[in-house]
């Protein structure tokens, strides 16, 4: 193929201006974190190294600290379970953690489905697939509401009967079986049907963390927006481009405040003139 490059085209300008490494700094950190997160869970069953037991749904860190997924906890309560102390503590710790680092940082930095959908998006771009069945980004909130309604109606943790996030992370830690079909369906949705379809439009887990993230402390800021050359690289690389507009083009705060932002830092990587930076809401507001 003539002129083929593995680098995503949205990152090309950043790479040209800053070199490959700096043009992928946050991407590399993110992939390393995602792999490490799975790695500590898989080290137990594979190598007998039990740093953490369980899986992303609920776990025990170093045999002491309980951690639990707050979305599943919410469904469980709606389904009629009287929560016990460990479960509340675990879900509380995780909710608190994401309130600090950015709710959907879960999506960008931990969730293994993100690797699948990013791969689908990369392939989609390289193959020049432009078909894009438009979905409303708010659909995920209605799926979230639907999952809670179904939990109430059936008295079960309803989303767990289909959740591709659980299927993949649990599958990698405990055995996947035919679960790969669900993951493949998400990949094909993002590749062939809707651009950023799953994570950006449908997934209620991300929607839930997005709600936590509305108040999150860690944020990306378009700090030097005066330098913007309107090249569009940040919008192209971003999984949720609408979050950038108010910070970059608005008159108010330079902080990206939308809960939809996954704090992935791709805009920082892609910007050839270093407009963006990872910062904290507290530091910014103190000024």
């Amino acid at each position: 193929m003539k002129g083929f490059s593995f680098t995503a085209s949205a990152r090309a300008e950043g790479v040209a201006a800053k070199g490959w490494l700096r043009g992928h700094k946050w991407w590399l950190l993110r992939r390393a974190t995602q792999i490490a997160a799975l790695g500590v869970f898989m080290a137990g069953p594979l190598a007998g190294l039990w740093i953490v037991r369980g899986n992303f749904a609920s776990s025990e860190l170093l045999g002491v600290v309980p951690l639990a997924d707050p979305f599943m906890f919410a469904q469980s309560v709606v389904a009629g379970t009287a929560p016990i102390g460990v479960a509340m503590l675990g879900a509380g710790l995780i909710a608190l953690f994401y309130a600090l680092v950015g709710g959907r940082a879960y999506c960008g930095w931990i969730c293994p489905v993100n690797i699948v959908t990013d791969a689908a998006h990369w392939l989609r771009e390289k193959l020049g697939i432009t078909r894009d069945r438009k979905l409303d980004r708010r659909t995920r909130h209605w799926v979230l509401a639907g999952a809670l309604l179904a939990s109430l109606a059936t008295g079960t943790i309803a989303w767990e009967f289909v959740n591709p996030v659980s299927v993949l992370q649990r599958g990698l830690i405990f055995g996947l079986g035919a679960g790969w079909t669900i993951v493949a369906a998400v990949f094909l949705l993002d590749l062939l049907i809707t651009r950023r379809g799953w994570c950006g439009h449908l997934c209620p887990v991300g929607a839930f963390y997005g709600l936590i993230g509305r108040a999150s402390v860690t944020r990306v800021a378009a700090e030097r927006r005066g330098d913007c050359t309107n090249c569009g690289a940040c919008f192209n690389v971003c999984t949720e481009p609408h979050v950038i507009t108010p910070a970059l083009k608005g008159k108010g705060s330079t902080l990206i405040l939308s809960g939809d932002c996954v704090n992935c830092g791709s805009c920082i990587d892609a910007c050839p003139v270093d407009v963006f930076e990872m910062t904290s809401r507290l530091r910014r507001e103190a000024r």
Partner: protein, 220 residues
């Protein structure tokens, strides 16, 4: 023409109606699917201390801490196509039964209470109940004294006893399960010598009859 930036009241209302419709549809579809997929099949048994299936599915987050706590690798999490709800812990007695650890480490490991963390004793565990379903293949019913189920039972002479009975005019030593003491560990099913186990552990609601509205022989 209306300003495209400001949606009309009609647009707002249709938008809201559509969204509400999507939520209801998503909820309904998921409800229907969950209802069809919720119950464990007869061959899948829940870990010791499991709450009744309806409460279990409201509490279990499918984290696998019970699986990790089991020293015999009896438990596993259901993969797509396994006979229990996706991701939930279960075991198949014919493959690996529960070895009835005294302290029930699996139940103690549960972070949600789907398994009773305060299970007083493994003897109180209710994984199911053994039922001698294959009376036509059971060797004892053929007049032999196999009795392997009785010999391997961890609480032999309590959960399974051997009793002389007369069948087809012949005296036979028949294994009899006592549902009050049987924990459903499945050791009998695991060791049954016939090709497909003649004694099987079934979830209690499948394995036992009900009392009925008008029980015979009730006191007046």
């Amino acid at each position: 023409m209306a300003d495209s930036k400001a949606p009309s009241r009609r647009d707002m209302l249709t938008g809201a109606a559509k969204a509400a419709g999507v939520a209801c549809l998503a909820g309904l579809a998921l409800t229907a699917y969950v209802e069809s997929a919720r119950d464990a099949e007869a061959k899948a048994l829940r870990p010791p201390g499991a709450r009744p299936e309806s409460e279990f599915l409201a509490a279990c987050v499918r984290c696998g801490l019970c699986v990790r706590a089991c020293p015999f690798d009896t438990l596993r999490l259901a993969e797509l196509g396994d006979p229990a709800a996706l991701g939930t812990p279960f075991f198949i007695a014919r493959e690996t039964p529960c070895y009835m650890c005294k302290d029930a480490p699996c139940a103690k490991a549960c972070p949600t209470g789907a398994l009773d963390r305060d299970l007083p004793s493994i003897r109180k565990a209710d994984m199911g109940v053994a039922v001698l379903v294959g009376q036509e293949t059971c060797l004892n019913y053929k007049g032999m004294t196999c009795s392997i189920c009785h010999r391997v039972c961890p609480i032999s002479d309590e959960a399974i006893t051997l009793e002389w009975q007369t069948h087809r005019g012949r005296r036979m030593l028949i294994p009899v399960v006592h549902s009050k003491t049987c924990t459903g560990c499945g050791t009998c099913e695991k060791h049954c010598v016939v090709d497909r186990a003649a004694i099987r552990v079934l979830p209690r609601e499948l394995g036992l009859g009900g009392r009925g509205r008008n029980p015979a022989g009730r006191p007046a």
